[in-house]
Symmetry: C2
């Protein structure tokens, strides 16, 4: 394998979307399925999702939420109760209309037994969960209700892309009900903070937190907040959203309670979610032309040990050494759990095994041959390094320092991604600057003052740019699009 060899063809610079699909394929994360727009999440990809779930689930429980499960199907009449909500989802609904199959006259199997009312496969669960809330809440004493659901949802998207936008995807959706508007909004913002911290600490992805403009709001929400990440092509990825729903869904689902002063009031609700889309963001933040790069905190395997041997005799000595090294490494901790170690003796050729693990993004690779054993050393490579430098360590050093090594890899990935975003973010103060910045295909984020109004959209359309979020803070200035005062600091970018 030459110095400039790359595991991935095309490379990022040759064809970024093609590179993305290839990284997923060679790392066995997922594959397309026969069902339009749906994917199969393969074991390696699902193990990554399980790690994401575990960390998030712990944080949700620490912040007082309980998991529950609500029906997959939503009656059409439920969706209709909130006018904006149904408008937002009507174009992408999978609709169940029959509950039986039977042969027609020509012997062909066709749907029979039509349902009285069509059922929608949930695109999100505000309405069906709201219906339960309406039964659970009688008095202010029953509030807040803090619920989370891990589930599959379906949105019939026209253009799909693995992990980023699929017809069916896996997610969590938090749904809460509160006594006051203030409490519901505080909850929405608190969970946005949980997402930000999670993205930073677990996924090593720096994100920008802010509020969505009115055109990008969740259908039925009063305010939508999001975290936005920058991919390596400069585009933004909305990585998580949190909504303050006001009393809109409480009204449509009749969630009422007796207040402290004896009046009947509608509850104030919030909802918030992240999905398997995070895996797409993870890939596009860290991976390189050699394939996947995974942050240790969520990697299914932390350390892969690759035995190198020639004959059978060599093999048994080297394998035994590798097994005992694996045991020793597993006895060490990283982030409160045992270090996850795999010995890879899967195929005959050790070079091929090394490449397989590079492509799968295993954070630390350890090569062990008979000569290394004799010299009491191991050859360590870190997947996070763009160079393919080898680090020579003694076995004891590796075991002693493995936790530190993993922590420093995690931190390096975060710092690199942060620097990338900073290097590719500009402040612009005029429409000309804005235009010339986005004239480039490789533009990143532009921050400027803008009015949150539909009228600016036409100036963005030629560049395929959208407002990603309004930054927190009170700073106001002249809108670069309309010249009006009172513009708010807004991040613009092309996006997924």
């Amino acid at each position: 394998m030459g110095k400039n060899a790359s595991a991935i063809s095309p490379t990022r610079s040759e064809d970024y979307p093609g590179w993305y699909q290839q990284v997923i394929k060679v790392s066995d994360l997922s594959e397309p399925s026969v069902v339009r727009g749906c994917m199969v999440i393969r074991p390696y990809g699902y193990a990554l999702w399980e790690n994401i779930q575990k960390i998030l689930d712990t944080r949700f429980k620490e912040t007082g939420h309980e998991n529950a499960y609500f029906p997959l199907f939503i009656p059409l009449s439920f969706l209709e109760k909130e006018a904006q909500h149904v408008e937002g989802f009507a174009k992408e609904c999978a609709v169940v209309t029959h509950h039986r199959l039977a042969k027609d006259e020509s012997g062909k199997l066709v749907p029979t037994s039509p349902l009285e009312e069509p059922l929608i496969v949930r695109p999100t669960s505000e309405t069906i969960i709201g219906d339960s809330f309406s039964k659970w809440v009688k008095s202010y004493r029953d509030l807040p209700i803090l619920i989370n659901q891990w589930a599959n949802v379906v949105r019939w998207e026209m253009r799909t892309r693995m992990f980023l936008r699929t017809t069916e995807f896996l997610w969590q959706e938090g749904h809460t009900a509160h006594e006051t508007a203030q409490e519901a909004r505080t909850e929405a913002l608190k969970m946005l903070d949980v997402y930000e911290q999670f993205a930073k600490e677990a996924l090593a992805i720096p994100v920008i937190k802010g509020e969505k403009t009115s055109s990008e709001r969740f259908p039925g929400a009063v305010n939508t907040y999001s975290i936005e990440a920058m991919m390596q092509d400069g585009k933004a990825l909305q990585a998580g959203t949190s909504h303050f729903l006001g009393q809109n869904f409480a009204r449509s689902q009749n969630i009422k309670f007796m207040s402290r002063v004896g009046t009947e009031e509608y509850a104030w609700t919030s909802s918030w979610g992240v999905s398997t889309r995070l895996i797409g963001g993870l890939i596009m933040t860290h991976s390189d032309d050699d394939g996947l790069v995974l942050p240790p905190r969520v990697a299914p395997v932390h350390v892969v040990i690759i035995p190198i041997y020639k004959g059978d005799e060599d093999r048994s000595v080297v394998l035994e050494y590798c097994s005992s090294l694996a045991r020793e490494l597993r006895s060490r901790n990283y982030c409160g759990e045992a270090v996850k170690v795999k010995v890879d003796d899967s195929v005959a050729n050790s070079g091929e095994r090394n490449w397989n693990n590079i492509k799968r993004g295993v954070p630390v690779r350890v090569m062990v041959g008979a000569r290394d054993i004799a010299a009491s050393k191991v050859v360590v490579s870190l997947r996070s390094k763009e160079t393919r430098d080898k680090i020579f360590m003694t076995r004891e050093e590796l075991v002693e320092k493995i936790g530190e090594v993993l922590s420093s890899v995690q931190e390096d990935l975060y710092q690199r991604a942060l620097k990338y975003r900073e290097d590719n973010t500009v402040e612009v103060s005029s429409l000309d600057e804005f235009r010339s910045y986005f004239a480039s295909e490789k533009a990143g984020f532009a921050v400027c003052y803008a009015k949150d109004s539909a009228t600016i959209q036409e100036k963005l359309d030629p560049y395929k740019v959208t407002p990603r979020c309004i930054l927190p803070g009170d700073s106001k200035g002249k809108c670069i699009f309309t010249g009006e005062e009172g513009g708010v600091k807004t991040v613009f970018a092309r996006s997924y």
Copy 2:
């Protein structure tokens, strides 16, 4: 609350099905939803399911299985490829036929954009997972493939009952592919053993393992094995199944591999599953006329501490004592995890709090009042005891022994259920005996020699009895229904 008071009305003897619904309701496990046959799993019920999942998932991984995720939707043409399979599921399929909603001329929202091919919401995933297997398997070196999926499935049942039979339910489905028939059958039987051990050790439910008769076989299977549990009304509950699928699905999904001798062969597959139905079985095995009884191994809360106080001053002293007792108990382990303790100060009346926790089946209740604190003792009640005896212990004793107490409760529940089953199982050796046994509404299990043939069914119909499973072993005898030799030992019962 008088000596004969009962939290549940009706009682088991008054109306068993009514009692079952009531136990679920008062313990907040689940509730009916607006969607026909679907239920809402409330936080307490979902916590129970999470505990079940966690233990099973560990056992699946220990036996070499990996989790993955496959599409919710199955193309109609896939289901059709296996003739028996589609025949078995055609009558209970939720069918997606459209992917959009729009207003018709009268302004009514209706499904539009029909799909070219209808999609079935998965009732089980042999066909769609088989399609992936066909891509993953090239050579015998790629085998075995050992996959598990945690998912929701939909079967449009006519009569539904919470947990036992719902339109949508949660389950795990294992799917494996092997080089030989022997290996695939061994896998199916191994996972049946895993289910049996899990039922015994985690759920404290004794089960009978055996093979289903041909009439009760999974559509498309060569052999179906099951675990059968006895409920307190004597009926059987099929609590888990494992199938040897031969090459039926490999043929329909084209799962082929190059064998060791260079020939192209179809793989041999198995599948196996348990579902939220286990929670129904758990309820009907252990609960009593006071409500739910939970085995500690899967209980969301092990110990509830109920503070008893009069005035505000009393309250703060007692609550502080309870918090410190809770901390101490949480520092102890049960089955390798911290003891789960809750201090219940939810409502004013301590008697009401006590009843709430009885109804929710918390294994150990600890009452603490000011006088108990002064006397350095605690008053302990075990939910597993039919009597409401109180046990007086010192605080130190309770903390010291809590692990043992929980273990003995778990064991007691198992032994009680086992005794119940043994007391309600008979061996019968003639059709007359069989008839007189099942003349009673309260009959349990009858074991006898029988031929596995459709002809015996008519003799069972008047009693609403079905063969539950054929017991393992080579013992043969005269069929009590047909008089033919070569009958196999079969368990008969009414069932859920």
